[in-house]
Each structure stands twice: as structure tokens, then as C-alpha cells.
Symmetry: C2
Subunit: 106 residues, 2 copies
DNA sequence: TTTATATGTAACTATTTGGTTACAAATATA
DNA sequence: TATATTTGTAACCAAATAGTTACATATAAA
């Protein structure tokens, strides 16, 4: 599967998005992640496998635990795609221009 | 399925992303779309169904043809999600700040 | 060394996806 | 009216997803 495909489909699940947000704050081991969800630990493992395949997260083994962390760089595979939509970027640019003018004084 | 889910999974397919880019330029009927791909017209119909369900695309009937067009607004369901990642927005903001300073004079 | 903990994987089920071909229905045209 | 065009849908298949429970494995702790 293409990089962009795997990133978008990794993001197409509520639980996986929640995992990403959690890991963007701090690395966590599997049990710590699983505690935050109602689904079983093996289900979390499967989600982690999908996230790993998309390279949005990676693991480091520490003793019997495995710490997962977020790889922000991989998000660009998805974010970059949106650039096709020039008008979007124009709008964002205008919005940010206003924001900067307001917060910094023009 | 949640809005965000359906948008991300709609985007998780190369052919559907290509359709979106095409429709962002101009509305097209099904045959015109299908001509640009190697897969069968019914396969295109299925993709259009998924895109419609995500509301990224909508159709207007004109005689026996159906013209599909892109709904940019729906993209925000996906784009907004990325805001969780503050550092990303900070980077973009800095990049845009530089860009604006360069093009407009600070 | 035995036991407890952390994690992965296997096997299973139901649903969705991405493709196919065949056919139906609606509209335009000869 | 008969025919051609445009599109949708049904029926099928193979693969992937999202979950489950049961079991295996590796490491830590008693």
C-alpha cells in the first residue's frame, strides 16, 4: 500500500486517532494505552500494528514493556496531499494573515 | 460512521483521491470520470458512492447524466483534526509568517 | 525456580472494500 | 417506436478490518 494510503486509512479510525493524540503527548506502553479504552488489549495491539505499518508510531522495547511513540513526520504524507487544494491553502493563509495581524499588530 | 472517519477512509484510496482532484477542477459525469481510469465503470460508481457517503462529493442529475462535484467544506472534517498537533500548526504558522514577511515586506 | 506481568499472535466471526460481469432502468435519438 | 447511451445495482469473490477469546513467550519478581 502507498504511504499516503496507509496514513489515511490509519487515521480513518476513532480509536487510532485517539491513540495518536495520546502518544503525541507522551510515549506509553501497551497496557497504559489499553487502559484508556473499552476494547480488549489484543484489539489495541492490532491498532498499534496498523499504526506501525503506516509508520505513524514506533516502538522501543524496555524490558518486558514496549513503549510506543508518535512519529510526527509521517503525518506529512497526509497533510501534503491537501495542498492539491489551492483554495484551501489560500483560505488558511488569509485566516493566518488575519490572525498574525491581530496578535502582532499589522 | 463518524464524519471524520468517513472522510479519512474516503481519502485512503488512490483512485478516490484522484477523483477528488479532478472534481475540484470541474464537475464531471460518470463516464467522463471513468475514462480517466483503467478500472470498470461500476467500480467508479462504487467509489462515487463512498465519496457521496462522506459528503466529499455530490451529484446533480441532468437528463440521463449525473454530474458530480467536489464539496470542499467537507475536507475540514479531516483538516481540522490535524489541529490536535499544535507543533504542526506552529511550524506552518512560522512558515507562513516568514512567507508573508517575505512577500509583503515585514 | 516458580509465579506474575506485559505483550504478541492465532483462530475465529462479521463487516467493509475493491474489483469483476451481467442486467435493469431511465433518457435521448433515429 | 425502436435503439443507443448513461448510469445504477445485484451477485459474486478475495482481501482487509475490528473485534473477540485462548494461548504462547519473554521478562521481572518472589
Amino acid at each position: 500500500m502507498s504511504n499516503t494510503n496507509s496514513v489515511f486509512s490509519a487515521l480513518a479510525d476513532e480509536n487510532r486517532r485517539k491513540i495518536i493524540v495520546m502518544l503525541s503527548r507522551e510515549s506509553m506502553n501497551v497496557n497504559a494505552i489499553a487502559e484508556k479504552f473499552r476494547i480488549s488489549r489484543p484489539a489495541i495491539s492490532k491498532h498499534l500494528r496498523i499504526l506501525e505499518n503506516s509508520k505513524l508510531v514506533s516502538q522501543v522495547k524496555e524490558g518486558r514493556e514496549r513503549y510506543y511513540s508518535f512519529n510526527p513526520k509521517q503525518m506529512n504524507a497526509a497533510i501534503d496531499w491537501f495542498k492539491f487544494y489551492d483554495m484551501f491553502w489560500d483560505n488558511k493563509l488569509n485566516a493566518l494573515k488575519k490572525f498574525i495581524e491581530k496578535t502582532q499588530g499589522s
